[in-house]
């Protein structure tokens, strides 16, 4: 058992205990984990990351450029904000490119189960990136955020394909205007 009463001799009047211990607080658990996650990023070739500040691994962007599927040749940007609660809490991810997609709304909210209800601390930044990439290959009309897009996908795949293309080229789908996001 730890005997504080005996240790008090070494530590009387609040003198410092371990003198050679660091004078700086250790990196937080979130920082340790994000260092691990980022240094082991293994991205599919359609994805790349951008770090505005290489010293800040907690805030970055992910660019997805699908090479197949409905969204082929589009370029979609997501912002990642990793909070101090990581990996207990999921990072906050928003889509910064306006996209006509059943699981992404026009405000940039993303419906991906592992970002909310199914998040677990064993998941990593890489798992989220794969999840997001999958959304572009297999948009899922069962869990819609953009309900109109989901209905079109379910009822008329041709029309859906055309709408996606229109939106990526820049233009109106229904009443909504989409900025161009095709690869240059």
């Amino acid at each position: 058992m730890l005997n504080l009463y005996q240790l008090r001799q070494q530590k009387k009047d609040g003198e410092s205990g371990g003198k050679s211990a660091g004078s700086q607080k250790r990196a937080s658990a979130a920082q340790l984990r994000i260092t691990k996650d980022i240094s082991e990023l293994n991205l599919p070739k359609t994805c790349k990351t951008e770090f505005p500040d290489e010293d800040d691994l907690l805030n970055f962007k992910l660019i997805i450029q699908p090479d197949e599927g409905y969204y082929k040749n589009g370029r979609f940007s997501f912002s990642f904000k990793v909070g101090p609660g990581y990996p207990h809490d999921a990072p906050k991810v928003k889509c910064e490119t306006q996209v006509y997609h059943p699981n992404i709304d026009l405000e940039g909210n993303v419906c991906l189960n592992i970002l909310r209800e199914d998040w677990k601390p064993v998941l990593t930044i890489n798992s989220i990136i794969y999840g997001l990439q999958f959304l572009f290959l297999e948009p899922n009309p069962e869990d819609p955020l953009n309900k109109e897009a989901a209905e079109v996908l379910q009822s008329n795949k041709r029309l859906f394909e055309q709408n996606v293309y229109k939106s990526m080229r820049g233009g109106y789908v229904g009443n909504t205007y989409f900025e161009r996001c095709l690869k240059a």
Binding site: M1, L2, N3, L4, Y5, L7, R8, Q10, K11, K12, D13, G14, S16, G17, G18, K19, S20, A21, G22, S23, Q24, K25, R26, A27, S28, A29, Q31, L32, R33, T35, K36, I38, S39, E40, L41, K48, T49, E50, F51, E54, D55, L57, G83, P84, G85, H88, N103, D105, E107, N109, V110, C111, R116, E117, W119, P121, D143, P144, L145, K147
Partner: protein, 438 residues
């Protein structure tokens, strides 16, 4: 020996002396009673209380009445009307004064000889030199994030000599937590017993409803409120551009409440009320004064046991629940072998004063005991994170490879600096401690 200061009256510590000056059936086998122990508690033992809220007020009272006199308290907040029903060191006249100062004044006035020093600060505002002065730290916090921060702090105070923990660098941390009728108290001996991060899965995760349920298929009143919070607020910006939701602003709650009611009507959902709205927005779990009292009493008792060694401390996690009858038990939460926070014994790395970062990277790769492949290295320099070298992301690799020919000292790395190194060869990031050869 009756007199430990001018403020004591005859017999003041009579009952405590009975515990500390003789042995007893519950005393630790090695315990030898002596008047010095009380002297230590009264005059030397420094306790830090974190949070002066529901738990903190009770803890301060308990400590002061148990013979602790050198107490510091940190709280970042001010007194709010809604605190007064249970945070009993505060009165109507104290509203909007800072909690730490009001609590310290109250206890110092009420308990002769007690010297509570207030800090109207965030825990994050202080560095290791501040925390190192205490013998015991007691937390009465209300968030996992703040607990983990304190946990990380007491762990970074640990000192290892050749991989062996120096016990005098251990500051026991007692942590209390309550949620409604449930609570827990635990004793953490950093580096020796389970820490906050070892048992992270004991904390209930935040309830997050699926985005699509909130957006299109709400079933509960909570779904309607979340909808307004997540979707309508950022769209309609009811109080202007860049005005986030303030759970303490009644106008904000009223707006969310009305919109949530509209949505509930639309889907035939009952039960959206103003109170529920406030509860969901602030993620409120009602505070129960008696739970705070029980948990705080346990925390103070543990501090008393640790300071005096008169009895074994709690080993190490007590659960309390009086939702329905009264239920409590204690068990030993296990220290996790691979805990990212406390399994870290910083490994010493010695380099010549003029070594460059490339030397360090080469060492990590070539040393027979490490054999790393592509180590990513970060450090906290002057309180700021710094990425020293990382290869996985092309842009970061380009920018940080310029660091490779630089001297370690040029990069701001001082003697004793901790380095975080991540590599595929280890399951967690590893901490190294830099030593300059002399």
């Amino acid at each position: 020996m009756e007199d430990s200061g001018s403020t004591d009256w005859p017999g003041r510590w009579k009952h405590i002396r009975r515990l500390l000056e003789r042995s007893g059936p519950f005393a630790h086998p090695d315990f030898e009673g002596s008047p010095e122990i009380l002297e230590f508690m009264l005059n030397n033992c420094k306790v830090l209380v974190i949070g002066a809220g529901g738990l903190g007020c009770e803890i301060l009272k308990g400590l002061a009445l148990s013979g602790f006199r050198n107490i510091d308290v940190i709280d970042m907040d001010t007194v709010d009307l809604s605190n007064l029903n249970r945070q009993f060191l505060f009165r109507m006249k104290d509203i909007s004064r800072d909690k730490a100062t009001v609590a310290a004044e109250f206890v110092n006035n009420r308990v002769p000889g007690c010297n509570v020093i207030p800090h109207f600060k965030k825990i994050q505002d202080y560095d290791p030199s501040f925390y190192r002065q205490f013998h015991i730290i007691i937390c009465g916090l209300d968030s996992v994030i703040a607990r983990r921060w304190m946990n990380g702090m007491v762990l970074s105070l640990l000192n290892y000599e050749d991989g062996v923990l120096d016990p005098s660098s251990i500051i026991p941390m007692i942590d209390g937590g309550t949620e409604g009728f449930k609570g827990n108290a635990r004793v953490i001996l950093p580096g020796m017993t389970a820490c906050i991060d070892c048992t992270l899965d004991l904390f209930p995760p935040q309830v997050n409803f699926p985005m699509c349920t909130i957006a299109h298929t709400p079933r509960l009143p909570e779904h309607c409120i979340e909808y307004v919070k997540v979707f309508l607020w950022p769209q309609e910006k009811p109080f202007g551009e860049n005005v986030g939701i303030d759970g303490d602003d009644p106008r904000h709650i009223q707006w969310i409440f009305e919109k949530a009611q509209d949505r509930a009507d639309q889907f035939n959902i009952k039960g959206v009320t103003y109170r529920l709205t406030q509860g969901v927005v602030k993620r409120i779990i009602p505070a129960v004064a008696s739970t705070n009292a029980v948990i705080s009493a346990q925390c103070v008792t543990e501090a008393f046991k640790l300071a005096s060694s008169c009895c074994n401390p709690l080993n190490n996690y007590m659960v309390f629940n009086d939702t329905d009858g009264l239920y409590t038990y204690t068990y030993e939460a296990e220290k996790k072998e691979d805990c990212p926070a406390c399994s870290q014994v910083p490994q010493a790395l010695s380099f010549k004063k003029d070594a460059v970062l490339q030397d360090l990277v080469d060492h990590l790769k070539n040393s027979a005991s490490l054999q790393m492949r592509e180590p990513g290295i970060t450090a906290t320099v002057n309180g700021k994170n710094k990425t020293l070298y990382m290869q996985s992301v092309e842009a970061i690799r380009k920018r940080t490879k310029e660091n490779l020919p630089k001297r370690l000292s040029e990069l701001g790395l001082t003697d004793g600096q901790e380095l975080v190194v991540a590599d595929v060869t280890t399951p967690n990031a590893v901490i190294f401690k830099l030593k300059y050869e002399v």
